[in-house]
C-alpha cells in the first residue's frame, strides 16, 4: 500500500509499504477514506521528537471503512464506516475505567521509554513516534486499529467525511480545552493559537456558554476565521499589540478567567527571549519553546484556570512557577481523552450545534502528503486544515 513516511527532519515521502495485518484479536483493519495533517505532526516534521525512526508511517487523524476484523471484535462488521480516536486505549485498565483514555496503561509497548522521559508511561498513539508505542499511522491506504471494540465510532451515513473526520482528534481536543475552563456565561476565555485546535477550542467555549472569547495569533486569516466561523468576540494580533496589555484593557485589568494554550512547543515569538528559547531548543538543552504558555500564565486572572492542550515533550526554562503558585492558578492539561467525547460531540454535530468542516481549507491526494506538510508548516495559501484522500 501507499503511506506517508517520515524519512527525516522536513522529509516526508509517500512510499510503498507492506499492507497491515491483524496482530491482536481485538484489531481491525481499515481502508482509510480521509486523513489529515495535525499541528502535532508538525512537531515530528520539524524533528522535535528524538524517538522517530526513518520510515515511520505517520498520521493519527483518520477515518475509513472496516475491511477485516480480529476474532475479538463483535461490535463492528466489515463495511462499517468509522472514525478512530488518536489515543489507543484498552478500555479495561484503571485509567480507561476512569475515562482517562489517553493515560491507558496497556497500549504503549515502549512504556519503559516513556516512563524514563515522563515519569510514568503515556498511552499508545497512531503514527506518533516510538515514545508512544511505534504504531503505524493512518496517512496510508490501510491502517491497523488495535482495540477496535473500544475506540472506533460508527459514522451515520448522512454525515460527510469532513464533518466526522475531526472527531478523531482536534474537535474533542478543542472541546476538552474549553471544558477544563469551567465556563459560565460571566467568564472571559482567552485562546492562544487560532490553528485548527484553537478554532475548535473557541467554538466549544461558545457551545459551553462563554460570552466573551478572545483569540490570539499573528495570522489575520486565522483570526478572521476565529471571529466569523468559530465565534470569538475579540482578537489580538500579537505582532501588532502587546498581548498582556491588550488583555488587561479588555478585562478591566483582571485578566481572562481562563486561558487556553492551543499553540504548543513550537510557539513563535519576538525578542531576546524567543531567540534564547530557539537556540536552547536547537542545542537540545530545552525541548520546548514555552512562549505561549508563559504568557497565558502571566495573563490569567488570579485563581483562574490555565488549560494546556498544546503539546509539550520535555523540560522548559523560565517557567513562571511563582505566578502560578502565588496567584493560586490551576493548570489542567493532557493529550485528549478522545473516547470520552465521541458520542456527545457526534450528537452535537447531528443536532447542528457545530459543523466541524468549517476548518477545511484544502483537499489533496495522499500522494501529495509532502506538499501538504510543507504548506501546513509554513502556513502558505491561508492553510487551515488539509484533508488527504487515500
Amino acid at each position: 500500500m501507499r503511506a506517508s513516511c517520515w524519512m527525516g527532519k522536513q522529509d516526508i515521502r509517500v512510499e510503498n509499504v507492506p499492507d497491515p495485518e491483524l496482530l491482536n484479536a481485538r484489531d481491525a483493519i481499515l481502508k482509510v477514506t480521509s486523513t489529515t495533517i495535525c499541528g502535532s505532526d508538525l512537531h515530528l516534521y520539524n524533528g522535535f521528537n528524538p524517538t522517530m525512526e526513518k520510515g515511520d508511517v505517520l498520521g493519527h487523524e483518520f477515518m475509513g471503512e472496516v475491511v477485516e476484523l480480529g476474532s475479538g471484535v463483535s461490535n463492528l462488521k466489515v463495511g462499517d464506516r468509522v472514525v478512530v480516536p488518536f489515543p489507543i486505549a484498552c478500555g479495561s485498565c484503571a485509567q480507561c475505567m476512569a475515562k482517562n483514555f489517553s493515560c491507558c496503561e496497556n497500549t504503549n509497548p515502549n512504556a519503559w521509554l516513556a516512563e524514563k522521559m515522563l515519569g510514568h508511561p503515556c498511552c499508545g498513539i497512531f503514527g506518533y513516534s516510538h515514545l508512544t508505542g511505534g504504531y503505524a499511522g493512518g496517512q496510508a491506504e490501510y491502517v491497523r486499529v488495535p482495540f477496535a471494540d473500544v475506540g472506533p465510532l460508527k459514522v451515520p451515513a448522512h454525515l460527510t467525511d469532513e464533518q466526522a473526520l475531526f472527531l478523531s482528534d482536534i474537535l474533542p481536543t478543542g472541546y476538552m480545552a474549553a471544558e477544563f475552563c469551567d465556563i459560565t456565561p460571566d467568564k472571559v476565555v482567552a485562546v492562544w493559537g487560532a490553528g485548527p485546535v484553537g478554532q475548535f477550542a473557541i467554538a466549544s467555549a461558545k457551545m459551553l456558554g462563554a460570552q466573551r472569547i478572545i483569540a490570539i495569533d499573528r495570522f489575520p486569516y486565522r483570526l478572521k476565521m476565529a471571529i466569523e466561523k468559530a465565534g470569538a468576540t475579540d482578537v489580538i494580533n500579537y505582532e501588532e499589540a502587546s498581548v498582556l496589555e491588550t488583555l488587561a484593557e479588555m478585562t478591566g485589568g483582571r485578566g481572562p478567567d481562563a486561558c487556553i494554550d492551543a499553540v504548543g512547543m513550537e510557539a513563535h515569538g519576538h525578542g531576546a527571549q524567543y531567540l534564547y528559547d530557539r537556540a536552547k531548543q536547537m542545542a537540545m538543552i530545552e525541548l520546548d519553546r514555552p512562549i505561549a504558555v508563559r504568557e497565558a500564565i502571566m495573563a490569567c486572572r488570579s485563581a483562574g484556570i490555565v488549560s494546556i492542550v498544546g503539546v509539550y515533550a520535555g523540560f522548559v526554562d523560565k517557567f513562571p512557577l511563582g505566578a502560578l503558585m502565588n496567584r493560586g492558578l490551576t493548570i489542567k492539561a493532557g493529550q485528549c481523552h478522545v473516547h470520552r467525547y465521541l458520542q456527545p460531540l457526534l450528537e452535537r454535530i447531528e443536532r447542528g450545534d457545530i459543523d466541524p468542516s468549517f476548518v477545511v481549507s484544502h483537499h489533496m491526494d495522499l500522494e501529495d502528503a509532502a506538499k501538504g506538510y510543507e504548506m501546513f508548516n509554513s502556513k502558505q495559501d491561508e492553510v487551515m486544515k488539509i484533508v488527504l484522500r487515500a
Partner: protein, 307 residues
C-alpha cells in the same frame, strides 16, 4: 515501578586492605607531586627536570587510583589500576638501575619495597574480583493490575502460561507437588534449564519459589498480591534474588535479569494479559531490534505470534 537494591557477599578483610592501599596511593601521590626532589633522593635516582616531570606524572596517577579505591573499596577496577601502576614503576626502576649515575643500593631497596606492595595489590585485586563474581543481586518491582487478588494469583499460579508474557522463558512444565521445569532462551541464543520448587503458597496473597540445587541460574523469588485501597485491583510486588552464575552466556542473562528491565517488561505484559486478554503489539514491537513504525514485511507465522 520501584527501585533496585543490590546486595553482595562481603569479604571481611578486603575493605581494610583496600582502604590501606588507597591511602598509600594518596600519600605517595601527594609526595611525588609536592616534593619530587626529596623523593628522588629517597628512591635513589638523579634529580633532573625530566625525573621531576616523570615523578609528578606518576603522582597524578597514584592520586587518581587512590581516590578510585577509597570511593569504592570493593570495586576490583581501581585495585587492578594499582597493579598496572606497580608494573610501570618496576619497569622504570629497572631502567634506572642501568644508569651508573643513580644510587644502585637505594634503587635496589626501592625495587624490593615496590615488589612487596605489588604482592599486596594483586591479593586485594583478586579478592575484589572474586567477591564480584559471587555477587548476589536483588531486584524489586511493583505494578497494579485492575483485577482482584484471587484472579491475579490464579493467573500467576498457572506457571505453564508464563511464556505468554515472559520474554526469555520458552516453556514451563508443571511437574506437580510444587515442582516445575523451566527452559529459557539466553541472549546469545543458547538455552538454560532449571527446576524450581514452591516454598510458599498462600492463595490470593503470596507465592514464593526457589531453584532446586544444580540450577544454571540459581535464584529465588516471591510475589505478593495486595488489594488496592478501592478494593478493585491488586498491587503486585515481585522480589527476585539471583546468584551470579559463571560463564559468559549465563552472565549476560544474569545482567539482563538483574537490571530489573526484564521483570518490568514481563510484569507489564502480565498486566496486559490479565486486563486485555493478550500481549499488546505495535508494528514496531513485533521486531527484535529498532524498526520503523510500519507494517511488517515478514509473514506473521515467522514472527511466532499466536492469534
Amino acid at each position: 515501578m520501584i527501585g533496585i537494591q543490590t546486595k553482595r557477599k562481603e569479604s571481611a578483610s578486603l575493605p581494610l586492605l583496600a582502604t590501606g592501599l588507597g591511602w598509600l596511593s594518596i600519600g605517595l601521590g601527594v609526595a611525588k607531586i609536592a616534593a619530587p626532589r626529596v623523593l628522588s633522593s629517597v628512591i635513589g635516582v638523579q634529580d633532573t627536570s625530566s625525573t621531576r616531570t616523570l615523578l609528578r606524572a606518576c603522582g597524578a596517577r597514584e592520586l587518581a587510583v587512590g581516590i578510585g579505591i577509597l570511593t569504592g573499596p570493593r570495586r576490583p577496577l581501581p585495585l587492578w589500576g594499582r597493579v598496572v601502576g606497580d608494573a610501570i614503576d618496576l619497569a622504570t626502576l629497572g631502567i634506572a638501575m642501568r644508569d651508573e649515575r643513580n644510587g644502585r643500593g637505594r634503587l635496589f631497596g626501592s625495587l624490593m619495597s615496590v615488589l612487596g606492595v605489588t604482592a599486596l595489590d594483586v591479593v586485594a585485586a583478586i579478592k575484589a574480583s572474586r567477591t564480584q563474581e559471587s555477587a548476589r543481586a536483588a531486584v524489586t518491582r511493583a505494578i497494579t493490575v485492575n483485577r482482584p487478588p484471587s484472579e491475579v494469583y490464579a493467573q500467576w499460579r498457572d506457571f505453564e502460561q508464563f511464556p505468554r508474557f515472559m520474554e526469555h522463558v520458552e516453556s514451563v512444565r508443571d511437574l506437580g507437588n510444587g515442582l516445575s521445569h523451566w527452559v529459557a532462551k539466553l541472549p546469545t541464543g543458547q538455552r538454560a534449564e532449571w527446576q524450581a520448587e514452591l516454598v510458599g503458597d498462600r492463595p490470593a496473597e503470596r507465592l514464593a519459589w526457589r531453584t532446586v540445587a544444580g540450577a544454571q541460574v540459581p535464584h529465588r523469588g516471591s510475589v505478593t498480591f495486595k488489594p488496592t485501597l478501592d478494593g478493585i485491583g491488586t498491587e503486585i510486588c515481585v522480589e527476585m534474588q539471583y546468584d551470579v552464575p559463571g560463564g559468559l552466556a549465563l552472565g549476560a542473562l544474569f545482567a539482563q535479569l538483574a537490571s530489573g528491565a526484564q521483570i518490568e517488561g514481563d510484569l507489564r505484559r502480565f498486566k496486559q494479559v490479565l486486563e486485555t486478554g493478550e500481549v499488546v503489539h505495535s508494528d514496531a514491537s513485533i521486531h527484535r531490534g529498532p524498526h520503523p513504525a510500519r507494517p511488517s514485511e515478514r509473514p506473521l507465522a515467522e514472527k511466532g505470534l499466536r492469534l
